[in-house]
């Protein structure tokens, strides 16, 4: 066994250091399965001290490393190059502190998003950001990706809910960011916010202090189906224009509805509708009642086919179930799934969806749409067979055009899934060399020798050859397979 591996085993014991190349296959990719790469080793630390010790060993050996939570990322963030060691944080899953009066919790990074809410539920509290992967993904991963979710329309993204963090820097030293009281020095940089969304390239968060929210007095969930996608989008426009801020505004298109209804996550959505719109309202009972009436009026004005409302928790759960299981259910359509993530201004949703449909038709790919309509955050999904190189190339080409469309409409190439390796090529649609240079400088402050999750999030010439392979590969796929 090489020196480094032996040292890791001495540190963590043989059970928590995986080096068998065959076993390591399991860590080859995240939810973005186009990009696969087998790491050199995987270690399973259980405390900040262990993370520090591992990172020091790696620093001494000048070996790159990649933090990983639950591996649900959709942009290749935790996929490690073949020379890198993965620090899988799944075992660091203790809730360390719950401050009921001051409304915050301190957790280890491997705590699963939904488990945190479960741990504070009896106190009438919850953790607000709720990615659809919330039963699986970790707070560490959420922090690194600045993840959002249906309820982020009203409550904000992860960034608005992380107060402080303890971070192991790439040289093994510890940095404390922010404070639970949220007091930031006047004029100083908010380092917690800076770290948030850094996609594992700034260091490893080993303790995260997050805001807890009080449960609202009343929650009402409404579902309306429409004969056209346009009608669904206009309803969203009407609701927002009326000055309402629903907790969530989600749309699923017909193909998505059908896949969901065929799965264990079936929620009873009408299969003949072109789109369903899920609206959740929360707040004081009286206010929510008034808002529900306004939402119903907007449904009616736009010719809703069927309206359903859930008031008790079980019914609510049922209506949400289909939305939460939507990505997985798409697995029924083909062997692989490419989940895209782009943003457009809400007022241009209709235009964007029409453009996406046209792009899908042009490339002959099977496209489904499910999205956070309130934020204009689109998730076009392409179902394809990853074993078919030409189909994969068409999928990537269609994705490329869709993101360009988002940018052209005044939006962006990512709402919440991050850049990872997936979008290294697309970053230049939005930023020029000078912009990228600023970002690279900021990263270099944290991660000067680029050993911490190298080759992610920023297209960089200095990245090691290994990580430069991926964009080169997409370029090749696009060149060879699509433009003959």
């Amino acid at each position: 066994m090489p020196r480094l591996e032996s040292a890791l085993v001495r540190l963590l014991g043989p059970q928590r250091v995986l080096t068998s190349p065959d076993a390591l296959l399991a860590w080859e990719c995240d939810g973005f399965t186009v990009h696969k790469s087998r790491p050199r080793a995987v270690v399973l630390p259980e405390s900040t001290a262990e993370v520090q010790a591992v990172v020091r060993l790696l620093a001494d050996a000048q070996v790159p490393f990649v933090p990983r939570g639950a591996g649900t990322c959709l942009s290749g963030g935790p996929t490690a190059g073949t020379t890198a060691v993965v620090l899988d944080l799944s075992r660091m899953r203790r809730v360390l502190r719950i401050e009921t009066a001051d409304l915050f919790a301190v957790v280890e990074p491997g705590v699963v998003n939904a488990d945190l809410t479960a741990a504070v539920k009896h106190l009438g509290l919850h953790y607000a950001p709720d990615p659809s992967s919330q039963t699986v993904c970790t707070i560490g991963g959420n922090f690194a990706e600045n993840s959002g979710g249906p309820h982020c329309f009203k409550y904000g993204m992860t960034q608005d809910h992380v107060l402080a963090a303890l971070v192991v820097l790439p040289d093994g030293s510890l940095a404390r960011l922010g404070s639970p009281a949220g007091s930031r020095l006047p004029g100083s940089v908010d380092l917690t916010a800076l770290f948030c969304g850094s996609e594992g390239t700034f260091g490893i968060a080993t303790e995260i202090t997050v805001r807890l929210c009080r449960d609202q007095e009343s929650v009402r969930t409404l579902l309306a189906s429409f004969a056209t996608m346009t009608a669904a989008c206009r309803t969203v426009g009407d609701i927002v224009a009326a000055g309402l801020v629903p907790a969530a505004l989600e749309i699923l298109d017909q193909a998505t509805i059908r896949a969901v209804e065929a799965s264990v996550y079936r929620a009873g959505y009408p299969a003949d509708a072109a789109a369903v719109l899920l609206v959740e309202l929360d707040g004081p009972t009286a206010v929510v009642g008034e808002e529900a009436a306004e939402v119903r009026a907007a449904f009616a004005r736009n010719g809703a086919l069927r309206i359903e409302e859930a008031t008790d928790p079980n019914e609510r759960k049922r209506l949400w179930k289909g939305r939460k299981g939507a990505f997985g259910a798409m697995g029924r359509l083909n062997t692989d799934l490419y989940v895209l993530d782009g943003v457009v201004p809400r007022t241009r949703l209709e235009e964007a969806l029409a453009g996406i449909t046209a792009i899908g038709a042009k490339h002959g790919v099977l496209m489904t749409n499910v999205f956070h309509a309130g934020d204009g955050n689109l998730h076009p999904n392409i179902s394809y067979d990853g074993r078919d190189a030409a189909a994969t190339a068409r999928t990537i080409a269609a994705g490329h055009e869709i993101l360009q469309l988002c940018v052209d409409l005044g939006g962006s190439i990512s709402g919440e899934h991050g850049i990872g390796t997936e979008k290294l090529d697309h970053v230049r649609m939005m930023y020029d060399a000078a912009d990228l240079a600023v970002m690279a400088k900021v990263r270099a402050v944290w991660n000067p020798d680029d050993r911490c999750n190298p080759g992610k999030a920023l297209p960089s010439r200095s990245a090691c050859a290994e990580s430069a392979k991926w964009p080169a590969m997409t370029a090749r796929i696009l060149r060879d397979e699509v433009r003959p």
Binding site: S20, P21, T33, S133, G331, D336
Partner: protein, 416 residues
């Protein structure tokens, strides 16, 4: 694609997985170990890589597959409809065929499963011997001398006396004259371990069926269901047993099972045998609770004053989708207070002979189950699978809880 029919190859089945991870929180081994390769997503990925010829040394991935309980909780959770059980069983069969596991332990397991468990008469002798060892104090001695690993010795329940182990009389059983007949004849499957450990469950099953007006046949030619062999990667031997069962139950329309594991395996004979006979047989199989809930009880059960929890056996809830039926029947027991406990669908760690093969992990999983039951403050636990009954009972005893474990059918027996 999940939608394509006609029994796709195990490789094609692995392609149903889109790597979303929604199954992870439902997997008992991933919950305890926190290791990707010990999760459904990771295991499917490894099995796919194996099928693609990307695994250099299959023995390196074997431990991850061996640690899987085959509890199917991941199937319940999977939005993409992945048939995990089929992938696992086919992969294990392939591994066993290409490179059979060596060593004394593997040999013993193979020997016991085929030459003892699958032969009811030898199993009876084995239990008689075990009982004798117990009565003569030799079991105690064996434990002291550490002939038997302490972990197993501590958990192994006492063997019941001969009278409780006596087999059900084979052949036809008619409802008593006092009972209104339903005019339906059903067959009862008796399996392997249920008889020597829980003969009383078989007697209760027969009693309930007769009291409810059904004519019952216990075919003499029936054999073990073969589930343990399938799990151990030996489908050929399991097929031999399956064919014997298809023949033994040829003249009935309903085959009833009071063991969730056996019932699940027998409902999968279509896949195991890969022919129409297997599929037709599978279509006749019903869990006893499924059947009784469907037909309705015509004779009320005896009163039972207890605070009870119903715990779902994996192979009943995940394997057969039977969840409401046992609860619905138990709700008809006078005096019984049925309370909810946390995670009734989580595996208890029994999983066939898993608790013998992976005692540590099974112990950890079992302890979680007991904690959940203890929090519910019950004095009776109901579950419809012999393995689960043993596992839950031994863990309750080990933790010092005075809680009884019964099969739901035992509570449906009418007053004497």
């Amino acid at each position: 694609m999940a939608s394509s029919s006609e029994s796709p190859s195990p490789y094609a089945r692995t392609l149903d997985c889109v790597h979303c991870g929604l199954c992870l929180p439902y997997c008992p081994t991933h919950q305890v170990l926190g290791v990707e390769a010990d999760s459904p997503r990771g295991r499917i990925y490894l099995m796919r890589a194996l099928a693609e010829g990307r695994v250099q040394d299959p023995t390196a991935i074997r431990p991850f597959l061996d640690r899987c309980l085959d509890c199917r909780a991941c199937e319940t959770a999977c939005p993409s409809g992945v048939k995990y059980g089929e992938i696992l069983e086919d992969t294990k069969a392939r591994l066993e065929r290409d490179r059979p596991q060596r060593g004394l332990r593997a040999f013993l397991v193979r020997f016991l499963l085929w030459h003892v468990v699958a032969r009811q008469r030898r199993l009876r002798v084995l239990f008689a011997v075990l009982r004798l060892l117990e009565i003569t104090g030799l079991r105690w001695l064996a434990t002291k001398l550490r002939v038997v690993p302490a972990a197993i010795a501590k958990l192994a329940p006492p063997v019941p006396p001969a009278i409780e182990r006596s087999p059900l009389p084979t052949g036809e059983h008619h409802p008593p004259a006092t009972v209104a007949r339903r005019g339906e004849r059903v067959a009862l499957f008796t399996g392997c371990i249920m008889e020597p450990m829980f003969g009383r469950v078989h007697r209760a099953t027969l009693q309930v069926l007769l009291a409810n007006g059904f004519q019952v046949v216990v075919p003499a030619a029936q054999r073990c269901c073969g589930a343990l062999l399938v799990h151990a990667g030996q489908p050929d031997r399991a097929r031999e047993l399956a064919r014997a069962n298809v023949r033994a139950f040829a003249d009935v329309d309903v085959v009833l099972n009071n063991s969730a594991g056996c019932g699940c395996a027998m409902k999968e004979y279509g896949h195991l045998l890969g022919d129409a006979d297997g599929a037709a047989f599978a279509a006749k199989c019903r869990d006893i609770s499924e059947f009784l809930a469907e037909r309705g009880l015509s004779t009320a059960p005896a009163e039972c004053r207890a605070r009870a929890a119903y715990d779902d056996p994996c192979h009943l809830c995940h394997g057969q989708g039977v969840r409401s039926q046992p609860r619905q029947l138990l709700a008809q027991v006078p005096g019984l207070e049925l309370v909810a406990h946390d995670k009734p669908e989580d595996c208890c760690g029994s999983a066939g002979i898993y608790n013998l093969l992976q005692p540590e992990l099974a112990g950890e999983i079992g302890r979680k189950k007991i904690e959940s039951l203890a929090r519910a403050g019950v004095d009776l636990v109901l579950t419809g699978n012999p393995g689960c009954m043993l596992q839950i009972d031994s863990h309750l005893r080990a933790a010092g809880h005075k809680v009884r474990v019964r099969h739901p059918i035992e509570l449906l027996v009418p007053p004497q």
